[in-house]
């Protein structure tokens, strides 16, 4: 298929891998930020193609995985109310909160629906004026502009039955938290291509200056990731640190200014709790005061909801790249996609779930040998 097959070409892939073998003279620890990138890496077995010294650790960029337990609890609480229709992206439905998940709320009679775009939720609210329609807005800077647009539009139209449970998270503060940790092992990052499509990559230049690590903004197809890894290794081997852009067909330095404007108009930066990691200062987006009437958290009085995470899960270490999913004693036994103990097993983009789905045969073979 055009624009896809070109980026999955076996010959070119092996060419890049051969070049990596030539350039890599010592071990390097690299982290890809996005869940979508983790998914591609594991699905195509790219990490298995690399020189042994190049270790990929999987970052915290799966929005489903890092949405805090208490945010899920708020969503299931709101969705259980008889006058509410809760509308969400598909893969949030299976994410367990501390008591239940949205699929179970739906089975018990809650009105929970899946859409691909928040404008569909708006459409539903217009057509059903007697339902309180709540859009569950999670995700990084990628999904935030469309969600901001929906609230902006609702305000302009004077829609009174639409609100948003917003729990957006931001990538740069998460990278800052990782690099600031005394246990950090990561020496280079594959930057988040879709986030940078919206935000550009100036913010990442600051991180590079401050922490002296290279960041290569990367795409999501196999060749994108291989090329980004090659660019990172080249910088590291040459002793350079810079932001470089591999994903040039989508990302520019300044990003999408219109999207940034609507984001800034509707949302403001706030502290945010990340599932598996904990609180990170100024790492989230919430609705501005001017949009308080659309804030589901206030409308439904769920602001005080809090929840603690199960102690057994090592997801904090997995999401920081300190451990691999397979280092966990619960992996594949007590923790599976059906009964996830923690965030990275929840969505197929989570590192643990990706290993479980695509890699069990290799892991089993190694353990057997």
């Amino acid at each position: 298929m055009k624009y896809l097959d070109e980026y999955r070409d076996e010959k070119i892939a092996h060419g890049i891998v051969a070049e990596l073998f030539r350039r890599a003279t010592r071990p390097w620890v690299l982290m890809e930020i996005c869940g979508g990138q983790t998914h591609t890496l594991v699905r195509y077995g790219i990490d298995e193609m690399l020189p042994a010294g190049i270790e990929l650790v999987h970052g915290p960029g799966c929005p489903v995985c890092v949405t805090s337990l208490e945010t899920i609890d708020k969503a299931t609480d709101i969705a259980s109310r008889p006058d509410v229709t809760l509308i969400s992206y598909g893969d949030m439905l299976r994410v367990p909160g501390s008591r239940t998940d949205l699929l179970h709320v739906k089975a018990e009679g809650g009105d929970v629906r899946v859409v691909y775009s928040p404008t569909e939720a708006l459409k539903f609210a217009r057509a059903n004026p007697h339902r309180k329609v709540v859009f569950f807005a999670v995700g990084f800077e990628t999904t935030a502009p469309a969600n901001a647009m929906a609230v902006w539009q609702a305000k302009r139209e004077g829609l009174t039955n639409f609100s948003m449970l917003a729990s957006h998270v931001l990538v740069p503060p998460a990278i800052r938290a990782l690099l600031g940790s005394p246990r950090n092992r990561v020496q280079g990052f594959v930057g988040p291509g879709h986030v940078c499509t919206v935000m550009g990559y100036r913010e990442y230049e600051e991180l590079v200056r401050e922490f002296r690590v290279p960041i290569v903004v990367g795409g999501f197809e196999p060749l994108d990731l291989l090329e980004a890894i090659l660019m990172l290794v080249t910088q590291l081997e040459e002793g350079r640190v810079a932001v470089e852009n591999q994903y040039v067909r989508s990302v520019t330095c300044d990003g999408n200014r219109l999207a940034q404007k609507i984001l800034a108009d509707v949302f403001e930066v706030c502290d945010r709790k990340w599932r598996g990691i904990g609180g990170i200062p100024e790492s989230g987006l919430r609705l501005r005061e001017e949009y308080a009437e659309f804030d589901a958290d206030r409308i439904f009085g769920t602001e005080g909801v809090t929840a603690d995470e199960p102690a057994e899960c090592i997801s904090a270490e997995v999401l920081q790249g300190l451990k691999k999913p397979t280092d966990c004693s619960a992996f594949g036994t007590r923790c599976t996609p059906e009964n996830p103990l923690g965030a990275p097993m929840v969505s197929s983009e989570g590192a643990c779930a990706a290993y479980y789905l695509y890699r069990r045969h290799v892991i089993a073979a190694r353990q057997g040998s």
Binding site: M49, D91, D101, A107
Partner: protein
């Protein structure tokens, strides 16, 4: 059709029942691991007998010296009408295909309708006309039936159940437990057409797509294949749960591994595009007019040729091999030459955020 057996019971041993299931979820109807759990934990313990335990798409029983194939299937599709067919064509073709996968010649169908109060009679007439046409095309007769009406709100307009019986020619023995290392995996055509068609019609998605459902009765294709060779070990129509669920079922039942070649699996561009956009894996998307065949290695070319001569098999391909390694697991050789698992999904495939 019975859901496939599952091969792992880790879900039952988890000490932290964060997602413990004490009621039916939509995922129980997905044909994935949750459907298997339901079957294994609730239905089989109560009703098990040697015929049911085979868990093939149809039961094959001896009656008066004849081998009779018997099957049943319920149809709950939304929307009722879609490009390429409707609930009526599905109800006929689905049951005909379940019989055909046992090698049977389909003969008679039953038809049970569950109608929701308020359903326009015009809608019912359209569906019945489709059933008439599909039955005539498949050369089967609807010989018995039933209608029930439920209150408004208790159904989704129209649910249809069909059962079917057919005759299995002597010498034909097809079953999911007969795959053996070295066998070839053949597929009759492109995957995902039906599932993506239905999805594109659903409220809230509304993307434009030129895809139509592939619903079709496959028994004449099967008859041609059986005539071409006696080396066919197993046939499956990969409906709900897609290619992956059918192959996982065969791998588990025969205790063999199956290795697929990603490059060989035919997918229409429109289907591939929709899957990329929606974050779905076409290997799990439903088909209603395709079949998978597990065939002895020496018979593969003959069977493939016979398939390609038939209208419904003209895009047939060899897509993989049965292996002795990694028994009960299906793996895929990716475009990059690496290998990954093609697992049973837990429940329904959920669209990804980004």
């Amino acid at each position: 059709m019975m859901a496939p057996e599952t091969k792992l019971d880790v879900a039952l041993n988890c000490p932290v029942p964060l997602a413990a299931q004490d009621s039916i979820l939509l995922g129980h109807g997905s044909g994935g691991r949750m459907s298997g759990d339901l079957l294994r934990n609730i239905i089989l313990p109560a009703l098990a007998n040697p015929v049911l335990e085979r868990l093939d798409d149809q039961a094959i029983v001896n009656v008066g010296g004849c081998r009779i194939a018997f099957t049943t299937d319920s149809f709950v599709v939304k929307p009722l009408f879609f490009p390429g067919g409707d609930i009526g064509t599905l109800a006929v073709n689905g049951t005909v295909n379940d019989l055909a996968m046992g090698g049977a010649e389909p003969l008679f169908l039953s038809l049970a309708l569950i109608l929701e109060e308020g359903l326009p009679l015009g809608t019912l007439r359209r569906v019945i006309e489709s059933i008439r046409l599909a039955a005539a095309l498949a050369n089967v007769a609807v010989v018995t039936g039933d209608t029930k009406v439920v209150e408004k709100g208790s159904g989704d307009g129209l649910f249809v159940n069909t059962s079917g019986i057919g005759l299995v020619p002597s010498g034909v023995r097809l079953s999911a437990d007969r795959a053996s290392p070295g066998d070839r995996v053949l597929l009759s055509g492109t995957i995902g057409d039906h599932g993506i068609t239905i999805l594109s019609q659903r409220e809230g998605l509304e993307f434009e797509s030129a895809v139509a459902s592939d619903t079709a009765a496959l028994h004449t294709l099967v008859a041609d294949m059986l005539r071409a060779s006696s080396g066919i070990r197993c046939l499956r129509d990969p409906t709900r749960g897609g290619l992956s669920s059918s192959l996982n079922e065969i791998a588990a039942r025969s205790r063999v591994g199956i290795e697929l070649d990603e490059k060989a699996i035919p997918i229409r561009e429109e289907v591939q595009g929709a899957c990329e956009m929606l974050g779905l894996d076409p290997l799990y998307v439903a088909n209603e007019g395709k079949l998978l065949a597990i065939v002895e290695p020496t018979a593969a070319e003959n069977v493939l040729e016979a398939m390609r001569r038939h209208l419904l098999g003209r895009n047939a391909r060899m897509i993989g091999t049965v292996t002795a390694s990694h028994p009960t697991m299906v793996t895929l050789r990716t475009r990059l030459g690496t290998s990954r698992i093609v697992d049973l999904l837990s429940g329904d495939q959920l669209p990804r955020i980004c």
